[in-house]
Symmetry: C2
Subunit: 204 residues, 2 copies
């Protein structure tokens, strides 16, 4: 990301400055995110990352100036939309599928969000990266679903529950570990949609 200049259509090698391949970079990023999930943001050390990826601290510091910048880069690289492509033609079914999808990555992302939750309060770039990687894509996808439902006339555009649906989904996802001691799995979330989200929208 910071180090590649893809010139040729095929060869990745094009007078680049860094010899770190994208695959290698992904190893670093995977390692740091995993260690954050395991030990928390503060406990993650550049030394630890270097050791677990068998690279040297120098290499990391050459590419990224500081730990927050490194983590932010890792987050940006891990960005992907998990609700992508859900469009069944029915809002209720869209939400059920989103719940199912959310349940599948629930553990990993919930841990990451929890572990970074406090670190972001003191680093703007990190906060931005976290939102872009884990929060905003999913929220946007949810809001698109809702917009399509409104467009189809399933829900009125001024329905008061609309603005709370993303918070409900995300919220239940995040607090389940605290309340019940286990991550929200797909089944739990689908039942939640059925029992609370759809009724709130007047769809059940």
């Amino acid at each position: 990301m910071t180090s590649q200049a893809a010139e040729g259509p095929e060869t990745v090698v094009a007078s680049r400055r860094s010899k770190i391949t994208p695959e290698r970079e992904r190893e670093f990023f995977d390692a740091v995110l995993e260690q954050i999930r395991e030990c928390g943001y503060d406990s993650v050390t550049m030394e630890g990352i270097a050791a677990s990826t068998r690279c040297s601290k120098s290499t990391l510091y050459r590419q990224w100036k500081t730990k927050p910048q490194f983590v932010a880069a890792a987050l940006r690289a891990s960005r992907r939309v998990r609700f992508a492509g859900i469009d069944t033609g029915s809002l209720a079914e869209d939400l059920r599928q989103a719940a199912r999808a959310a349940g599948d990555w629930s553990g990993k992302d919930t841990r990451l969000l929890q572990a970074l939750g406090h670190a972001v309060t003191s680093d703007q770039e990190l906060a931005q990266a976290l939102r872009e990687a884990l929060v905003h894509p999913e929220i946007a996808a949810l809001e698109e679903m809702l917009a399509r439902g409104v467009a189809r006339g399933e829900v009125r555009a001024d329905h008061p529950a609309l603005e709370y649906i993303p918070a409900m989904m995300f919220g239940v996802l995040r607090v389940r570990p605290v309340l019940n001691g286990q991550y929200a799995d797909a089944d739990y979330l689908v039942r939640f949609v059925e029992a609370a989200v759809l009724p709130a929208l007047g769809l059940a």
Copy 2:
């Protein structure tokens, strides 16, 4: 708590081992919880607590063996039920008042929960203390409200949304900062109850 043996009905002094008064102890506890909210659990140091309360590290280590034990004691001492006494005779109104009450301590407790969220995964005693201090009392109070509503016949006992209400309330409370960048205030929560919680229960 660890150090007092209240024998006389009035005099606190009764052949106690520690000279630390309950007021002094509360200073320590307030300081550590506040610093946790500000800087996160890992960044809080016994040295910092000692400095900010003008006591010595020795004093702290004399009373509590380790940092997690100290923090756990602080949590246990801060335990109080915030929804206590809410009983309006109507479930809808109970929930509205709970939302209002929650909004008032939202910032402080949300920050504390967030800051400790990861630390508790590696310390059982801390986890237990956190649940007893911040989570369980509120959940229990909510469940009592719901039970009363069921007893009054406002909601059927097998209503599927019932089990999700605490998670919804807590969840929205906690994720609002992530989604909107601000803590959930009383107004936001009351509107949430109105727009989503009551409809989910078939009460609006």
